[in-house]
Subunit: 358 residues, 2 copies
Amino acid sequence: MSAQVNVALGERSYTIDIAPGLIRADLARYLPQSEILLVSDSNVGPLYLDAIQAQLGHARVLRYQFEAGEASKRLDVVEAIWSLLMAERFSRKCVLVAVGGGVVGDMTGFAAACYQRGAGFVQIPTTLLAQVDSSVGGKTAVNHPQGKNMIGAFYQPLSVLVDTETLDSLPARQWSAGMAEVIKYGALGSLDFLGWLEHNMAALMARDAVAVAEAIRVSCQMKADIVADDERETGRRALLNLGHTFGHAIEAHEQYRGLLHGEAVAVGMVMATRLSVALGWDAPDNLDRLVALLRAGELPVEPPPGMTPADFMHHMGLDKKVDAGQLRLVLPKPTGSAVISADFDPQALARTLADSCR
Amino acid sequence: MSAQVNVALGERSYTIDIAPGLIRADLARYLPQSEILLVSDSNVGPLYLDAIQAQLGHARVLRYQFEAGEASKRLDVVEAIWSLLMAERFSRKCVLVAVGGGVVGDMTGFAAACYQRGAGFVQIPTTLLAQVDSSVGGKTAVNHPQGKNMIGAFYQPLSVLVDTETLDSLPARQWSAGMAEVIKYGALGSLDFLGWLEHNMAALMARDAVAVAEAIRVSCQMKADIVADDERETGRRALLNLGHTFGHAIEAHEQYRGLLHGEAVAVGMVMATRLSVALGWDAPDNLDRLVALLRAGELPVEPPPGMTPADFMHHMGLDKKVDAGQLRLVLPKPTGSAVISADFDPQALARTLADSCR
């Protein structure tokens, strides 16, 4: 049940260790630094920080804990982290350890990226979504009032520690949201993995330890391979945004208080695949398989009630994936792979939005 | 009088073009992007932005101008730049062009580094100091209330355009401050360049165009070579901080309202060399040569009146070059080179501070 994934990025390479109980013991081996800041939120911090700190007797250890939730993903919260580090005179050789989900990881990574132009950064992701997605690839960010993740940096961690036992306490809805990203890797390219997921979705939803570890390993490995190829998202890495353009529109429309990110991506993947089918690029059967998998993962497959095609167009206009005024979408292809394209019939998009918003 | 320096950093390589009149014509060749933000300050902007913008008819051009001076080097000013870019829906393919001295360059570079995780960045440095120092090497930053340049990123520009004609309007004090960094390259390692400077200091102070272009070229080339070797300052690059630990202490003591950065570095170089001589690592003759060169450059060679050894110790305690509680200093060696060392007699430091603060 333990595995290791190597993210090959030259001098910025690092490993992802995956094992149950990984943070219960022997943590000092991963954190030899003498100045350590543990960053977490009000949900996760109380569960793990005491146990983590108890293993770090060799170091000066600080803690910073913020209110759980996307609303905390703000620059002024990162500023508070910097001020704490400055007040305690932490050097650039210190390490910031993110203990939590994607919000904690993104913010802690950004804080580390900019503190004295780059302090150490270690991730301990505690949600399924963070373990398979935001912990791989070095994307760090905070939100800007006018757009999600608009201020950030590409900054690689020194290491990522995935303790699958931290998932035991994850609420069902969060579990499903993470499963959406796992399913994305099935949809994105690997027919083997798509078939494996279809056979193992029941075990995954029952949180079978062996199946879960394997799903995390394959997802991390697929993402690591793509990121190693295209660290700064100038090309192929954009494939990982499958479902994200539609998904971000939903999240923005609901002001990030409605569907969870993974849930919105689930709907977005259905919409992107529907568009591919409408364009004749993908087979209707693939749409059916995707919808069935997402339903088995207890995920939504339709936009929230009341959201209109005009709402989508509005919110997609501000999306980062807009290149020189052209909307570029990640669209599945029948081979089980996908393309990034702005070269599609706009009427097919309009029809897809109309079909989806019912 | 025109030259080009290549900064070899793999896929982040760029060139520095040095020529008189470089920004008067043909600027679109360097700035083909379709979204351009010109950033400058209240001193420099009025001199150049109209002429620059007139050459960029192919692009959407925005401007952002802030109050000149170190006091503007704050995160909230960078936030205002981000908000302007967001309000105008500039994509991550946009380019931010810094037109001005080191403050403009550092802040614009940091804004570019973090906007959508990395927009384009081009430097048009208009002070001697920026042309020979802050335009090379990718250090970007803003100040934190508790320390200078504490929040930032390593982020390389796409290109640097050094128009030596922009120096014509530079006040004498700013000229000398830039000359301090030029002299630093003489002190740092190249005996040839040290000798060249001794023979050409009168021409440089008279702003002889040929001598000035050569001084800029050699300084940029030396810095480029060191940075190519050690982009993220894990080793040899720290040599470039010669005089900076003492210099920063002076700037902090005067709350950045006293000596200019270059002036403080001039004093710092004298103090570092004095310490080397006290340790027996450098010959007294080298201290004399350095002091003579700085005086010819109309630069201070002593700390400001009233500043005490205790003031230095206090401010050096928070310096970034403090490594695990040990003060590491760049100290000249008799060969005309220098070392980075924490392994010196603290009493020699105390004596140097006492000798310097008189």
